[in-house]
């Protein structure tokens, strides 16, 4: 009896201490090792890379001066941001100026028609990023709208699958650069409008992105659909599910994981293709920024291109993460 009491007392006394100890154990023990693996090693990798880049860059001499090191790239990043905010200020001023003028005109003559014009300055680096994101999303969504239903039909119907398989195999490896001239010509010839909703260059890039990025989604969807567990298909037969219920309740959910894997690959390809398409089609976006800087050929050009390269990589990585998050929300096996 006394023994128990002592134990209990010891227990209550050390409550706070135990909690502290558990906390420190957590921090110092497993979590530190885990944190090390998750943060320290990648940090070491990045630092080593920066050191190598810093040492090696000045050794590479080009007609535009030495290859930019991390410091110059850092500086240009700030510069590009500065240009963007300056531009924004000027644009804001431009609009206020017009508003004041319009007020004055209206005061003199209330029936006068007034207009506000957009600031005519060239798009900045940040603007180009958003243009590129818009184009890639448009192309990717169009690719998904085509590839998922088509993939379901291919996966469900063996005859159809046999018929289109050679076409898929042939068109899948085609480079965006090969499609681009054809797409440009077709868009110019068919998209004729006095008041166009989209720029032609936007359409050209978007369609090229679609053509190159729909294949992984198409193939993965068709494989996912044709690989539904045969027992589940038997369940569907025993229940006499109608075709649509069968597709909706059995086939689609079962292939969602495969479809998402395809979508992630497709989005990665879409982003890569977009940059190439923008460079070649001269449509606004990051690709055009890179090309313009290359043509510009100032001493800062290489650093600015390097900023774009890093931005492209980082955005590609973010896009993949976003897809992963959506996949975790949607797919049942995550």
């Amino acid at each position: 009896m006394t023994h128990t009491t002592t134990l209990n007392q010891a227990d209550s006394l050390s409550q706070g201490q135990r909690w502290l100890r558990a906390l420190t154990e957590k921090v110092s023990g497993i979590n530190l090792a885990e944190a090390g693996r998750q943060l320290l090693l990648p940090a070491i990798g990045i630092v080593l890379f920066l050191a190598f880049w810093h040492a090696a860059a000045p050794q590479v001499q080009t007609s535009l001066g030495a290859f930019p090191g991390p410091a110059q790239v850092m500086e240009q990043t700030g510069q590009l941001w500065q240009e963007h905010s300056n531009q924004r200020d000027r644009a804001a001023q431009f609009v206020t100026m017009q508003e004041k003028r319009n007020e004055r005109i209206l005061a003199e003559n209330p029936n006068a028609e007034t207009k506000i014009r957009d600031y005519p300055g060239a798009p900045t680096f940040i603007d180009q990023i958003f243009t590129s994101l818009g184009t890639v999303l448009a192309g990717f969504i169009l690719a998904t709208i085509i590839a998922v239903p088509l993939g379901i039909i291919i996966g469900l119907n063996r005859h159809f699958s046999a018929a289109v398989n050679p076409l898929i195999q042939v068109f899948k490896p085609v480079s965006p650069l090969a499609w681009l001239p054809l797409v440009t010509m077709v868009v110019s010839a068919t998209y004729v409008s006095d008041d166009p909703m989209f720029e032609k260059s936007f359409l050209t890039s978007m369609i090229t992105v679609t053509l190159c990025s729909l294949w992984p989604t198409l193939i993965n969807t068709s494989v996912g659909v044709s690989a539904v567990n045969p027992d589940l298909l038997n369940v569907s037969k025993v229940l006499r599910l109608s075709f649509w219920t069968h597709v909706r309740k059995v086939v689609l959910p079962s292939s969602v994981p495969m479809i998402f894997t395809g979508l992630r690959v497709s989005l990665g390809i879409a982003w890569m293709v977009l940059i190439a398409a923008e460079m070649l089609a001269q449509s606004p976006g990051l690709g055009k920024f890179v090309w313009d800087e290359f043509q510009n050929g100032s001493s800062e050009s290489l650093s600015r291109i390097m900023v774009a390269v890093l931005a492209i990589g980082f955005i590609g990585f973010l896009l993949d993460r976003i897809m992963l998050l959506i996949q975790k929300k949607v797919a049942w096996n995550e």
Binding site: L156, R158, S226, A227, V228, N229, P230, D231, L232, L233, N234, V235, K237, V238, L239, R240, L241, T245, K249, V250, P253, S254, V256, W332, N333
Partner: protein, 298 residues
């Protein structure tokens, strides 16, 4: 005996193979009356599953046929609900939704929404799974998932319940537990059951009649054994019941003396799950499953 509930007459099942037709079943005749519990037992690859698939309508016999309540069976349907070996629940649906999918489909027109809900819950309660309604199949044990599979089949109010080695993938304790549940449910509902099994004890304990099949190719029904043990049956009390022991011996003698299994066939048992996988690239053709399974013996 009155007019049979389910009747298989002169059934032959042949599959086309590269080396010409392969006859898996020949002259299978079977009459089952309402409320009867029939087990099909035989060595791997003897065509037990093929018989079951023909009754289910998943396979079409090449000769002869199956008649249920005076109607020929040629397509699958919920009045012949199947409990598959590996539960076959939709992994993306919860326990409740899995049963709901079946109930929705079968009783959409005849039951109100509230009645359907009650019926789903009733069936899940029957198999003691009403505590895990919102769990996904991946979150419950194999035995629990199999219970849900049984609940789903029962919820279709089938005339015949078809079970393809329903407890084959479970551990011995879970299996015993589920066998007892099944016995009780079958007795309460007086359902007609055809069950495939490898397990002699299971067959004797559960069945009114054991149908023993000869080895393939051209497998057929070798012997039938009527089990006249009183119900309800208790596995512990029966363990050394002289009648029970005699029935057991009869089945064992058929399987291991009259129909000795070729030694090389032992490997078939292990390859069976693999055979399932190999057929998965042509899932629309359920015929392949049966064929592949049988061909391995040939």
């Amino acid at each position: 005996m009155s007019k049979p509930h389910l009747e298989l007459t002169n059934v032959q099942m042949a599959f086309d193979t590269k080396d010409g037709p392969f006859v898996a079943l020949e002259n299978v005749d079977l009459k089952i009356r309402k409320g009867e519990f029939v087990s099909l037992i035989g060595h791997s690859g003897c065509g037990k599953s093929t018989v079951l698939n023909i009754v289910a309508g998943l396979l079409q016999a090449t000769r002869g046929g199956c008649v249920l309540d005076g109607h020929e069976v040629n397509t699958p349907g919920p009045e012949r609900a199947v409990v598959f070996q590996n539960h076959s629940l939709m992994p993306w649906l919860t326990v409740y939704e899995n049963v709901e999918l079946a109930v929705q489909q079968v009783f959409k027109k005849t039951m109100s929404k509230a009645e359907r809900k009650e019926w789903i819950l009733h069936n899940l309660k029957l198999v003691n799974m009403d505590h895990a309604l919102d769990k996904r199949p991946g979150e419950i044990s194999g035995g629990m998932a199999q219970r849900v599979g049984i609940a789903r089949a029962l919820a279709m109010k089938p005339s015949v319940l078809l079970m393809d080695e329903p407890f084959g993938a479970l551990d011995a304790l879970t299996r015993a537990h589920l066998q007892d549940s099944l016995m009780k449910i079958q007795q309460d509902l007086n359902s007609t059951v055809i069950m495939i099994t490898h397990d002699v004890d299971e067959a004797v304990l559960l069945s009114d009649r054991i149908v023993m099949m000869t080895n393939g190719p051209a497998a057929t029904i070798g012997e039938e054994l009527r089990i006249e043990l009183p119900r309800p049956r208790n596995r512990v009390a029966l363990a050394d019941h002289p009648e029970y022991v005699r029935y057991r011996q009869a089945v064992l003698s058929f399987l291991y003396e009259k129909q000795t299994f070729p030694a090389k066939g032992e490997s078939t048992e292990e390859q069976k799950p693999q055979a399932r996988d190999e057929t998965s690239d042509q899932p629309e053709n359920a015929v392949e499953t049966g064929k592949d399974r049988v061909l391995r013996i040939a």
